[in-house]
């Protein structure tokens, strides 16, 4: 058997990268130009079931309802909050009204006791039509929970309803 004499010369194969680099840079520029930093968004859930003709069963435990009325004042700012939990009703119209609303909700929940045995507590809002939406959200925040000094959140009421404007 005959072998070729000598060593084959190593061939230097080179790829032309120019076209690929062009495309890659164009893609990079596109992504950089379309990049937008957006703030995280979150939700408050509100369930507004349609009115039904279903009658509550006699053994059914009805939830305790905290009624919250938000009043609008001059320039559509909030004027005051009226609360009623079927036992006591109160009015808050100082600057710390939302904090007082949270305390009222906490007292109501403490009275109702353990969530597993006590009927549910829900909040029904009646809101002045002209009131700026940010105050509605502040009131919803006040009944939904509160931020504790250690930074954790204490959850209060999940069930929130809006009374239909009529």
């Amino acid at each position: 058997m005959k072998f070729r004499k000598g060593i084959q010369k190593a061939q230097d194969i080179r790829l032309n990268m120019t076209a690929m680099i062009d495309i890659v840079f164009q893609l990079l520029v596109f992504f950089i130009m379309t990049f937008k930093i957006t703030a995280m968004e979150a939700d408050f859930n509100v369930r507004m079931p349609l009115a039904s003709e279903q009658v509550a069963r006699p053994d059914e435990v009805l939830p305790t309802v905290i009624r919250v009325n938000l009043r609008a004042g001059g320039d559509r700012h909030i004027a005051g909050v009226d609360v009623d939990n079927e036992i006591q009703s109160m009015t808050f119209d100082q600057s710390d009204m939302f904090q007082r609303l949270t305390e009222f909700v906490e007292r109501t929940l403490a009275r109702e006791g353990d969530a597993s045995t006590a009927p549910e507590v829900e909040v029904e809002f009646t809101i002045a039509e002209a009131l700026r939406y940010k105050y509605t959200v502040m009131a919803m925040e006040a009944v939904s929970g509160k931020v504790l000094p250690d930074g954790t959140t204490k959850r209060l009421i999940e069930k929130i309803k809006f009374r239909s404007p009529n």
């Binding site: 990268m17 690929m20 680099i21 890659v24 840079f25 893609l27 990079l28 992504f31 950089i32 379309t34 990049f35 937008k36 957006t38 703030a39 995280m40 968004e41 979150a42 939700d43 408050f44 859930n45 509100v46 369930r47 507004m48 079931p49 349609l50 938000l70 559509r76 809101i127 002045a128 039509e129 002209a130 009131l131 700026r132 939406y133 940010k134 105050y135 509605t136 959200v137 502040m138 919803m140 925040e141 939904s144 929970g145 509160k146 931020v147 959140t153 809006f162 239909s164 404007p165």
Partner: protein, 145 residues
């Protein structure tokens, strides 16, 4: 006078690290790019909240309604001048949800309301949605840290 002829040398930079980095940057931007911009109207300033948290589970079907301060709406990139005119669009969404077997009651209506909007408009929008049997609402806020 004698001149020395210089030997021509081909100078080639090693492009490998640059290409690596560029591909990593492209991958990064591709992952974080947000294609849902059409649902958001940037001119709407949402109210802020420290309590609200982003939803952990995405709804089966959602409708995002952007409500401006003047009562006009931006829905699916279209501008609707008044709340009363949104009926046909809601009907279309309810039919689209039914095609993927989602009942109107399970459709999540996300309301992105401007913080200065009169609350009455938000309630009117909800009432309009209720006419189309939509009853699950989420009021969207900006998360405050």
């Amino acid at each position: 006078m004698r001149f020395h002829r210089k030997k021509k040398e081909i100078m080639e930079a090693d492009l490998t690290p640059m290409i690596d980095m560029t591909f990593q940057l492209i991958a990064f931007f591709m992952i974080i790019i947000n294609f849902s911009e059409v649902d958001r109207a940037e001119e709407i300033m949402l109210p802020t909240s420290r309590i609200a948290k982003p939803p952990e589970v995405l709804p089966d079907y959602r409708v995002i309604l952007n409500l401006n301060e003047d009562g006009s709406l931006i829905f699916d990139g279209q501008r609707v001048e008044r709340i009363e005119f949104i009926g046909s669009l809601l009907r279309r969404e309810v039919s689209a949800a039914a095609r993927v077997r989602v009942k109107p009651g399970d459709v999540s209506v996300i309301i992105r309301g401007h913080q200065e909007t009169p609350t009455g408009l938000v309630q009117r929008l909800m009432a309009k949605c209720q006419e189309h049997e939509l009853e699950s609402f989420s009021l969207r806020v900006k998360e405050e840290r």
